[in-house]
């Protein structure tokens, strides 16, 4: 049997387990090299067919060796064994899936590509789906395991070099010597790239020169994505398995990709058998980790790059047979002269063995005994970042590699990524060759994408079913969609499709490359955006006072506000009754206070609002709607006139930014920057809103304003006053329908003002109660009681359309035919005969088959009216007032009467109580 074993090395021993077996590795091992060193060839089972799989490569292109690892109680699934360093105490599990492998193999004709469109359809897919999904799949996620990541950062550099091999080090040093700020990133822990295991000059001097020149060098750092505007995303690995590392964004003036090239496998029957490995990987494991992957290797190739591998393995004591598909050459003769058994003009037909490689069958019928089948089908330059940045990789027939089709500004290639591999000796050097697609042999047992279990037969099936473009091939077969992103499969798949459809590989092209190049932990992407930091929440200046009063705080559209005061929602009804019977205060500080100033201020306000604001006099307040150019309501608010050229717009709390942005757009693109100025003063002011029939005597007791006499201070006007030695502004506006006063003071006095009002007897009132009070009055929340089609006339504001007003945003849209439709959804109220509450969002239905004629936008139990109240948008709603309609919600139906939107005090007499 033999197989892999460690023949050299000596580092600190690291104990670990694999599938429960206790094993020992060495410091510096990857999980893969440790497994190989212990003679383990089979490391898991494949995704779909559950076939045994072995280690194919030594790098990020590995498709098979995906394992789950538990260390110090943290479970990390889907770890790539070839790039994850071994740590003492790791408990490693192969990914096996559930369900018998034999059963899946028997089912294999029924689960070929696209099977879910064709099989398991009767009686319906849902019957089979759970079982099939359970049998497939990769690792298990443990919800209690948390990977932790540090915040990374943002960097600027003149040059970023991706790849710390010889070419990368040379490019970085040259640039740094000429004075540029250079960052070099290398995904491995060591610098040197392939020179670490391939002959051709070592890198020790190059590394020193780079450091001396002042290059910033990051090892264990992967440039995973090239983004717009010349930015690169870089993930720096953490200290160990559970460390998610850190995320960096680099703004680089220029980028050099010294990313090397990846070896391609060969295609033959049973090429997925454990014991089949890329030739370069076999060299890597021996040179870097002292692991000889087989004592009797067969090395199969179509190019010269394996010859140095053969010589190195032979020197280590392996009995090597080299199978070269090409005719005899100087190089093959040279190898034979050095004692290697070389068979030229020979190809592998299939791998032999039960569960692992025990021999090789050639196309001419020759059988060779083997414990390792090392393969090389050519090389593919790693052009991912160039492609992500807008480039296109095309197949170069002559050199048998991918090359860039055109230059992308700011990006250049170096080394093997640029197609340069300098000959290691004086003999002719042909290091890559075109893929050969076998015509004989079982195509359903010839693998192209090992991780997603896509075979040559699947590609041919796709061709047969006319999914012949590379993008269709990918999606129909899932070729290239696994965690390895098809690094060893994409080119072979395209070549197979090209052959199946009689086209050239160049014509076929490749699929779109997208970041990330290798998987990035979610913890690193999340960075600091965890928990409360996910988005910037706005706070009230008086928040400490609200917390002290036992407020339940809730996030309302990005603003943290008191929902109610008390231990549960029962408080909401208490607050509603207090508002209608006594006096309540709620914190309205987040309402917008946007100043519009200058000689063109009136003109701009007339343009932004449907109502005429230019006639507003100092000391007065006017309500208005803002529309978009399609005539749809975007916000409502009030405008205060502070002076002839000085206005204050009080828009909805969650729309301040939107209003300011819209005002600035028209200012800068239509009215001119000199004539009008817009300042957001919202944060400077704190506003407490006092409301209720007892609000007037309560406020009078505080002495903020000289007189509260209604004649001097009518509803929709404001006066200036004093509070604690500074200016205060008191406006008579009401969102509850009761007499109300909004008192604004500089935000530094928010808490004293709140405490003064509470101390004078006002009850605290939260946003939930406010929502009920305003709904009783039929006052809208824009965006809740309006949708993307609601125009002013739908809300009962008929003047803008009927009077054909002009000169405001959306004016022309109100005259379009659709604006006059009789069926437009209009805002109305609804009432149930039994006084119950209609579920918010319920649809109103009629007809057979039934269709929706509208929906409930707000719905509450009203403590004041002692029944349920609701607002709704209903087709031709106002004409239906008095009629009954049917409502429908999640299978439940009921009846309700259409009413006017205002359910409480329609005359508005409570404002002056």
């Amino acid at each position: 049997m033999t197989g892999p074993s460690r023949i050299a090395g000596g580092g600190e021993p690291l104990p670990f387990t694999f599938a429960g077996r206790r094993l020992i590795g060495q410091k510096g091992d990857s999980i893969a090299s440790a497994l190989l060193a212990n003679g383990i060839v089979t490391v898991g089972r494949s995704f779909k067919y559950r076939r045994p799989r072995g280690i194919l490569s030594a790098g990020e292109d590995e498709p098979n060796a995906i394992v789950d690892v538990v260390l110090n109680g943290v479970r990390v699934p889907n770890v790539r064994a070839t790039t994850q360093g071994l740590e003492a105490g790791m408990a490693i599990s192969p990914v096996l899936g559930r369900g018998a492998a034999l059963l899946t193999q028997a089912l294999s004709p029924f689960i070929a590509s696209g099977f879910y469109y064709k099989t398991f359809l009767w009686p319906h897919w849902g019957l089979f789906e759970p079982a099939i999904r359970r049998m497939a799949g990769l690792g298990r996620v443990d919800p209690d395991s948390r990977m932790v990541a540090e915040p990374g950062g943002n960097l600027a550099a003149d040059l970023c070099v991706v790849g710390g091999g010889r070419s990368g080090l040379l490019a970085a040093t040259k640039a740094a010597t000429s004075g540029q700020r250079v960052l070099l990133v290398e995904q491995r822990a060591e610098l040197g790239g392939s020179s670490l295991w391939r002959d051709g000059g070592d890198s020790v001097d190059l590394v020193a020169a780079a450091r001396d020149a002042g290059v910033t060098i990051w090892t264990g750092a992967t440039a995973f994505g090239a983004y717009e505007n010349g930015r690169l995303g870089i993930h720096r690995q953490g200290a160990g398995l559970a460390d998610g590392g850190s995320l960096w964004a680099v703004q680089a003036g220029q980028v050099v990709l010294a990313t090397g090239a990846l070896e391609r496998p060969l295609l033959f029957e049973r090429n997925d058998l454990p014991g089949v490995m890329l030739a370069d990987a076999a060299l890597h494991y021996l040179r870097r980790r002292g692991v000889l992957c087989g004592a009797r290797p067969v090395i199969a190739t179509n190019n010269d790059s394996v010859y140095p591998v053969a010589l190195v393995l032979a020197k280590a004591g392996a009995v090597v047979t080299l199978v070269d598909s090409r005719a005899a050459s100087e190089r093959s003769a040279d190898a034979a002269a050095k004692g290697i058994r070389v068979l030229t003009g020979a190809r592998v037909a299939r791998a032999l063995g039960r569960g692992r490689v025990s021999g090789v069958m050639l196309t001419d019928g020759t059988g060779i005994d083997a414990d390792l089948l090392a393969v090389s089908g050519g090389w593919t330059p790693t052009l991912h970042l160039y492609c992500q940045a807008g480039g296109k990789a095309v197949w170069d027939d002559e050199r048998a590699i991918l090359v860039p089709a055109f230059p992308v500004p700011g990006i250049s290639l170096a080394g093997r990524a640029a197609g340069n591999w300098f000959a290691p000796d004086a003999l002719p050097w042909v290091w890559s060759a075109a893929p050969e697609i076998p015509v004989a042999g079982k195509s359903r047992k010839t693998w192209i994408d090992l991780q997603n279990d896509v075979t040559l037969g699947d590609v041919q099936l796709a061709a047969q079913e006319n999914f012949t473009s590379v993008e269709h091939l990918k999606r129909y077969t899932t070729l290239g969609m696994a965690t390895d992103q098809g690094k060893t499969a994409n080119l072979l798949g395209a070549a197979a499709m090209a052959q199946a459809t009689g086209r050239s590989a160049t014509d076929l092209g490749l699929t779109t490359y997208r970041p990330p190049y290798t998987p990035v932990p979610m913890a690193a992407l999340q960075g600091l955006s965890r928990g409360p930091l996910q988005s910037p929440l706005r706070r009230l200046a008086a928040e400490p006072a609200h917390r002290e009063m036992g407020a339940a705080l809730w996030d309302y559209g990005g603003l943290l506000r008191p929902a109610f005061y008390g231990k549960d929602e029962a408080s909401i009804a208490t607050e509603c009754l207090a508002a209608r019977q006594g006096a309540v205060v709620f914190d309205a500080s987040s309402l917008g206070k946007v100043a519009v100033m200058g000689p063109k201020a009136r003109e701009l306000l007339d343009f932004l609002f449907t109502g005429r604001m230019s006639t507003l006099q100092p000391g007065r307040i006017r309500y208005g709607l803002t529309l978009n150019e399609a005539g749809v309501v975007t916000d409502d608010g009030v405008v205060l006139c502070l002076g002839p050229d000085h206005f204050l717009v009080s828009c909805s709390s969650s729309h301040v930014g939107g209003f300011v942005a819209s005002a600035e757009e028209w200012r800068q693109t239509r009215f001119g920057r000199d004539g009008v100025f817009i300042h957001d003063r919202t944060a400077h002011w704190a506003t407490m809103s006092l409301s209720g029939p007892k609000s007037k005597p309560l406020l009078a007791g505080l002495g903020i304003v000289e007189t509260l006499d209604d004649a001097a201070f009518p509803h929709m006007s404001f006066v200036m006053g004093r509070f604690m030695g500074g200016e205060a502004r008191v406006s008579r506006v009401s969102f509850t329908g009761e007499r109300g006063y909004e008192i604004s003071v500089p935000a530094g006095l928010a808490i004293p003002l709140w405490q003064a009002l509470i101390g004078a007897g006002a009850k605290p009132c939260g946003i939930e109660a406010l929502g009920v009070l305003r709904a009783e009055k039929g006052f809208i929340y824009v965006g809740q009681d309006t949708d993307g089609e609601t125009m002013p006339q739908d809300l009962g504001f008929d003047a803008p359309r009927l009077k054909r007003r002009e000169g405001f945003v959306g004016d022309r849209a109100l005259q379009l035919p659709v604006a006059g439709d009789a069926d437009r959804k209009q805002l109305v109220g609804l009432a149930r005969a039994d006084g119950g509450v209609i579920p918010a969002g319920a649809h109103l239905i009629e007809g057979a088959p039934r269709r929706s004629i509208g929906f409930v936008t707000s719905s509450h139990h009203s403590p004041t009216l002692r029944r349920g109240i609701a607002l709704a948008l209903v087709e031709g709603g106002r004409a239906r007032i008095g009629q009954e309609v049917t409502w429908f919600d999640l299978g439940q139906t009921g009846r309700a009467t259409v009413t006017a939107a205002c359910a409480y005090d329609p005359e508005g007499s409570r404002l002056n109580v």
Binding site: P532, R539, D674, H679, P746
Partner: protein, 167 residues
């Protein structure tokens, strides 16, 4: 619905708030300046700034923030010199980030500060918030609207402490 009071950490007391970590010190102040937003011709802005010593942060070709002595009386609105003025004295919290570690922390908050740590125009995006940056010899002073100051402070706490220290 449930109460989220405990999910959202309480804002700090700005008078005593302080983050002291190796290489970086973060402090805050509020309400002890006269702060005015000025819009209009550049000449008129400079003249007013000269009359009231302090700091002038340029925001746009026709917009600047004047930070001067507390209790300065400037009348709001648009005046004959062509200047529009707003009193923002209570609008901001000022957060100072100083020390040798300040450049890296500032760059973490804003890729624009990684490009240019001494921006010529004060407004930029930092930790997801639009604010004004005033460069200091050993770091920067951030002028942030007080409703967003707590978020900024909690972000700075998270950014200056390692992940293992955090909940």
């Amino acid at each position: 619905m449930s109460d989220r009071s405990t999910f959202w950490p309480t804002p700090p007391d700005w008078t005593t708030a302080r983050i002291e970590m190796p290489g970086v010190t973060v402090t805050a102040s509020q309400g002890d300046r006269g702060v005015f937003l000025l819009s209009g011709p550049g000449k008129a802005i400079s003249e007013l700034a000269q009359a009231h010593p302090g700091t002038l942060l340029e925001i746009a070709p026709d917009r600047a923030l004047l930070v001067t002595k507390p209790d300065t009386a400037l009348s709001e609105g648009w005046n004959a010199s062509g200047l529009a003025i707003s009193d923002l004295s209570d609008a901001h919290v000022r957060i100072d980030i100083r020390g040798p570690g300040a450049p890296a922390l500032l760059a973490l908050g804003s890729p624009s500060l990684a490009l240019d740590p001494k921006p010529r125009a004060a407004a930029l995006a930092f930790a997801g918030v639009t604010l004004l940056v005033e460069p200091l010899p050993d770091g920067a002073r951030l002028h942030v609207d007080h409703p967003q100051a707590a978020h900024l402070w909690h972000w700075l706490l998270a950014a200056t402490h390692t992940a293992k220290d955090q909940p």
